[in-house]
Amino acid sequence: MLQVRNLSKTFGGVKAVQDVSFTVRAGTIHAVIGPNGAGKTTLFNLITGIYTPTSGEILFDDAPAGGESPDRLARRGMSRTFQNLQVCMNMSAIENVMVGAHLRLGSSLLAGLFRLPGLAKADAECRDEAARLMDFVGVGQYRDTHASQMSYGALKRLEIARALAAKPKLLLLDEPAAGLNHTETGEIEALIRKIADSGITVVLVEHDMKLVMNLSDHILVLDYGRKLAEGTAAEIRDNPDVIAAYLGASA
């Protein structure tokens, strides 16, 4: 599904990502972990087209994806959420999710000016679909609530609903459990499991080790922009380099 080969990104003098290579197989849950500043979000931004690689290549679904724009990648079936919550606070919850489905609706400005009957019907269907997604992620009760009125935990799930609305093949979640308490983290864990079970490949960046160990089929560890280790949860847990760099006593 996703192949990264010798990927590097330099900002001025800072080598944020150095020569990272890994493969994500379709239908798996893949986690990227590492200390703060290890380059995890930079890696995400490179994969999702927000940054252009300095060198190396990215292949999404066997086709080149390095340096593509985010909206083109979305068209190819990639979707993501953000570490610092990028929800449209000027819209209602359901509208946010409907935005996620944008690619599957008629999007011409001109068509929008005239209320064509086909458009209205497609819109109503989109709304129903969005409502179902909101139920799926567990925020169904906020359907018509304005985004600015929702709690942080609910917004995090809303963002996931928006990402799912695009019916992606690959979903990248950037710290989905950040800022959540124990119960909420458990709920997110269950949600991610549900998403993976529905056939979507999931890649996540996370700091919560329990979540990562429970969910992941495969883990990639980054440190100072380089790949430190790669393997299953059991392999990573016992890897002395990883323990030294990162896990310490919280394994």
């Binding site: 999702t48 927000i50 724009s69 985010p70 909206d71 990648l73 979305a74 068209r75 990639m78 979707s79 993501r80 953000f82 990028q86 929800v87 449209c88 606070m89 000027n90 819209m91 509208e95 946010n96 409907m98 935005v99 996620g100 944008h102 690619l103 609706l105 008629g106 999007s107 011409s108 400005l109 068509a111 929008g112 000016l113 005239f114 209320r115 458009l119 819109d123 989109c126 985004a147 963002e159 928006r162 990402a163 609305a165 695009a166």
Partner: protein, 312 residues
């Protein structure tokens, strides 16, 4: 079947526009109503850009000026039919807007404000300086609008024309907001990066809405030129651009009816201010500051929140 609030608002607007002539005693009031309707159309178009998509334009009067002077020059100096001249003006505006939109809309915040400001001022200076075409600072007269031999003259006819135009523009804007394209625009305002990863080509959308609002301004410029019969460069000036932005921001960003209300207030304001002889500029400046400080969202959204609070 319950009606959506926006449908109710639209029908109310249509009702008011239809019934208003009964309350207008003489030509002076008709003139005010016509100017309000023209400003309202421009404001609704501009709000799509500023309020919904979250961009800024401090040079929109420039587009108004292009339409106005295109109509004026082509009809009065070259004898073109009015309808063709209007379309030519709109086309020229669309081309210019399209050409500058991409580089300008890459900018954000204050830089975008300055770029649009610069554009507006350049257009305004062109109009002032090309005296041979435009009559320069003294202005130029404009022939009446004629369509297939029938001339539009007289306040009542003009009122009907601009009222219909306002209804069309409002209806189109309301349609757009409910459409996927409208949501895309608002998403660009809410979080451009989120919109992009959702598959929205944000640059393309920003360009399209910029061109759309520019064309609306241009058409209204042409209308104003024919209606007033005389045109001066102030139509494209910085002050006019600020007036237009204020209508949008004062009435309510991301609120179609807010823009209409803003147009009403801003058009009537000079009439009210004439009571403060000599102090007009000061009072206008104070009003701008006070409303932006205390009603940053604009009148309609602030009222809406108040009523929503009570209903909850």
């Amino acid at each position: 079947m319950t009606m959506k609030p926006t449908t109710r608002g639209f029908l109310f607007l249509a009702f008011v526009l239809a019934v208003l002539p009964l309350a207008l005693p003489n030509a002076y009031y008709y003139d005010l109503a016509i100017r309000i309707a023209i400003n309202a159309s421009i404001a609704v178009g501009l709000n799509l850009l500023i309020g919904y998509t979250g961009q800024i334009s401090l040079g929109h009067a420039g587009f108004f000026g292009i339409g106005a002077y295109a109509s004026a020059i082509l009809t009065s100096r070259y004898g073109w039919p009015s309808g063709v001249a209007l379309i030519a003006g709109a086309a020229a505006t669309a081309l210019l807007a399209f050409a500058v939109a991409r580089p300008i809309l890459k900018l954000k915040g204050h830089y975008l404000a300055m770029a649009t400001l610069g554009l507006g001022i350049i257009l305004s200076m062109l109009i002032v300086n090309e005296t041979d075409f435009t009559g320069g600072p003294d202005g130029m007269p404009v022939d009446a609008f004629s369509l297939f031999g029938w001339q539009i003259t007289g306040e009542q006819t003009w009122y009907a024309v601009v009222a219909v135009m306002l209804l069309l523009v409002t209806r189109a804007a309301l349609n757009l907001i409910d459409a996927p394209a409208g949501r895309a625009l608002q998403a660009i305002h809410g979080s451009e990066i989120a919109a992009r990863v959702a598959g929205i080509d944000t640059t393309s959308f920003k360009v399209r809405v910029f061109v759309l609002s520019a064309v609306v301004a241009s058409v209204m410029g042409s209308v104003t030129a024919h209606y007033v019969g005389f045109l001066t460069p102030g139509a494209a000036g910085f002050f006019h651009s600020i007036e237009l932005v204020t209508m949008v921001v004062l009435g309510g960003m991301a609120s179609v009816f807010g823009s209409i209300l803003g147009a009403v207030v801003l058009t009537l304001l000079p009439q009210l201010l004439s009571a403060f002889e000599g102090w007009e500029t000061v009072v206008f400046g104070l009003i701008l500051m006070l409303t932006m400080i205390f009603l940053p969202r604009g009148i309609v959204p602030t009222l809406r929140l108040k009523f929503a609070g009570r209903a909850a």
